[in-house]
């Protein structure tokens, strides 16, 4: 126990300043009113969906939870069910085999359900493109509000995308 506590104290606080929103990442105009955004901004719940990624994007989404980015420190957390989510964070080209699951998760998410598409694949199909097995970009399957490019996008870019979706808080 002594070692553990010592390690915590020696480590100190690592959290860095979060990035600001970037309106250039928007796919469609903001749909939500300011009052709602103000509420969401303080307690946003995200459901992440891997719709067919190579898992590279997930690694960076995981990194959002590390002490440096500390996404939870901004009041943003990940939920296990789309029913509890305000925002879907979707990676991958949408694999044909995931098309139905993605649509169901979208349907299960309560309005106004923001959607952020992640990565070159989520934004445009990426290197996998469209084929018998791939529907391509996320917007081909469900409506997308914000798209964050990068292969994979860095944690800062992801944060920026999420913050943009909720109106720059």
């Amino acid at each position: 126990m002594y070692q553990l506590l010592k390690q915590i104290i020696v480590t100190g606080i690592k959290t860095e300043v979060p990035p600001v929103a970037d309106e250039a990442l928007r796919v469609i105009a903001q749909r939500l009113e300011k009052a709602m955004l103000d509420t969401l901004g303080r307690a946003l719940v995200i459901r992440q969906i891997d719709a067919g990624s190579c898992n590279g994007c997930e690694l960076e989404i995981h990194a959002l939870g590390n002490a440096y980015y500390n996404l939870e420190g901004l009041g943003i957390r990940f939920a296990a069910s789309p029913r509890h989510a305000d925002l879907l964070l979707v990676t991958g080209p949408v694999a044909k085999n995931m098309e139905v699951a993605l649509k169901r998760a979208y349907d299960a998410t309560p309005e106004p359900k923001l959607v952020v598409a992640v990565g070159e694949c989520g934004c445009g199909g990426g290197i996998f493109g469209e084929s018998y097995a791939s529907c391509g970009r996320v917007a081909n399957v469900i409506p997308v509000d914000v798209a964050v490019p990068g292969c994979p996008p860095t944690p800062l870019a992801l944060m920026q995308g999420i913050l943009t979706a909720i109106g720059g808080k």
């Binding site: 891997d50 898992n55 590279g56 997930e58 002490a67 694999a95 085999n97 996998f128 084929s131 994979p152």
Partner: protein
């Protein structure tokens, strides 16, 4: 030449890797597979190809791991009714690969289990994407699938279906638990959700670009896959990368190994309710990746290994930075290891949980870190080393308990060994005078074949590549060890309690995307 005293005539493939190739008929394929099994060898991969445009039918290709290296056996099949004997009777690991091969190419094993694997009714049963006359751009209506899960019956038995979308930030898969009380009687996996037609996609890319796609088969294994692809491309064109490039490749591969092990050790602590471990290890992993980005321009080192060499060098002063980081990470990991080792609650969750016994691991051809935690001491870096591993003398980790604790111990051992290897590589890189990083890839002969086989952080990855005319790719098969290891997870959870599944699953940490190729 002969292998294992078998009558098959093998030819040695050129290039860095010890690989041998033979063509066989059914009987000799089976008898060779049996010899491999008896000699303690293992099954590695299985795939098919369409040869009908060459006045032939189809072909089945099987890869085996033996002491000498990699043995590839090709079985020609007729164009009509292409069938082959069930290799799963000798190597159970062949089952899913045979089913996947049918889904993609329409060549069938005579095995009993004919359920689809990669096809989830989202393309018609008579559409075989890897046939050369199949249009890759064709899209079909998605359908609901009825998959024949094996039912467990009895008093009080019920089923828990999980997925494809999982509760956390994880790749999609479906798990069907049959349980009684909270004890798991049986787990059955249904995978293939992230299948995105990668092998067909290769056929639309030039051979010189395929490394990018190979590097995205499984994002956490991008270095190993791009190296395997490049090794295959270099074998088939007769290209030898400059020595400095090979040392850099090994440096990148060990960086990838350490990054993933650091993350896993954090999540393993977290899944056993020690969130302190997650916070600490993810911090170390972030430090590690930031230096990768600073020195080589990518946090995951994607696209740094290219055909003929590497696309990055150690910048001036980079060696010193890396050495300093190795030292600090090693010091911190040792502290954290002590904390893990002495944490009674953690050890209680780790010990005897999710056991994969060595005998079963051997039967299932389990390699990689899961194998090494169950006495299967396969590690290409130690056994079939290609340059520069022939000079690195990697000590292969090995434990025999096969439980979560053993898989944790293997990860710790491998971090320390990879740090040692990294230091050794850095000495060479700072001394060596020749700065050449790339040897241009000569043009490939139509029909030339090459193979790459690299020990990634999770296990071995294999890329089999055949060139088409004018620098195109005729066929490219990518295999991740996960495809073989997934079934072992079904065994390892039996008899454990449902709440331990996430921990056991994490201790395997297999790739979905890599198996769904």
């Amino acid at each position: 030449m002969q292998i294992l005293n078998h009558s098959l005539q093998f030819e040695a493939l050129p290039g860095a890797l010890a690989a041998y190739r033979a063509t066989a008929d059914e009987a000799r394929l089976l008898s060779f597979a049996s010899s491999v099994r008896q000699s303690g060898g293992r099954f590695v991969a299985l795939w098919g190809s369409d040869e009908r445009d060459r006045n032939a039918g189809f072909a089945l290709h099987a890869a085996f791991g033996i002491a000498e290296g990699l043995a590839l056996v090709t079985l020609p099949l007729p164009a009509d009714n292409p069938e082959y004997p069930d290799l799963a009777e000798i190597f159970p690991a062949a089952n899913r690969l045979q089913r996947a091969t049918y889904d993609l190419l329409g060549i069938r094993s005579r095995g009993e289990d004919q359920r689809p694997w990669l096809r989830h009714a989202n393309w018609p049963a008579d559409y075989f994407p890897l046939r050369r006359d199949s249009d890759p751009a064709q899209q079909f209506e998605t359908q609901n699938e009825e998959y024949a899960f094996v039912r467990v019956e009895g008093d009080g038995v019920h089923e828990i279906p999980v997925g494809p979308i999982h509760a956390g930030i994880i790749e999609p898969g479906h798990f069907r638990f049959s349980i009684v009380g909270e004890k798991v009687l049986r787990l059955e996996q249904r995978l293939g959700w992230t299948h995105k037609g990668i092998e067909k996609r290769f056929e639309q890319l030039p051979l010189s670009d395929g490394y990018k796609l190979a590097g995205r088969v499984s994002g956490d294994t991008t270095v190993a896959f791009s190296w395997a692809y490049c090794l295959a491309a270099e074998t088939l064109t007769g290209c030898t990368p400059p020595p400095r490039a090979l040392w850099l490749r090994a440096l990148l591969l060990e960086r990838e190994r350490i990054a993933n092990h650091l993350g896993d050790l954090g999540y393993l602590g977290n899944d056993a309710a020690l969130s302190f471990g997650l916070a600490q290890f993810l911090r170390l992993k972030e430090d590690w990746q930031r230096l990768s980005d600073q020195l080589f321009g990518h946090r995951y080192l994607m696209d740094r290994i290219v055909p003929g060499g590497v696309a990055c060098d150690l910048p001036p002063g980079g060696g010193a930075l890396m050495l300093a980081q190795c030292e600090s990470i090693e010091r911190e990991v040792r502290i954290l290891k002590d904390i893990y080792d002495e944490h009674a609650g953690l050890q209680d969750r780790f010990l005897t949980t999710g056991r994969l016994l060595p005998a079963l691991a051997g039967e299932l051809s389990i390699s990689g870190l899961v194998g090494r935690a169950s006495s299967q001491t396969w590690d290409l870096r130690g056994q079939n080393p290609i340059a520069p591993y022939d000079q690195l003398n990697v000590q292969v980790a090995s434990h025999r308990n096969g439980d979560v604790a053993a898989r944790v111990a293997v990860r710790f051992d491998e971090i320390f060994e990879a740090l040692r290897a990294t230091r050794q590589i850095l000495v060479v890189l700072t001394d060596e005078l020749c700065r050449d990083l790339i040897e241009p890839l000569p043009s490939a002969r139509d029909g030339a074949f090459g193979v790459g086989w690299i020990e990634g952080w999770r296990g071995d990855v294999l890329v089999a590549l055949e060139a088409g005319p004018d620098g195109s790719i005729r066929r490219c098969h990518c295999h991740d060890a996960s495809s073989r290891i997934w079934p072992a997870l079904e065994h390892a959870v039996m008899g454990n309690i449902v709440p331990d599944f996430p921990l056991i699953n994490k201790s395997f940490n297999l790739s979905y995307s890599g198996q769904d190729v």
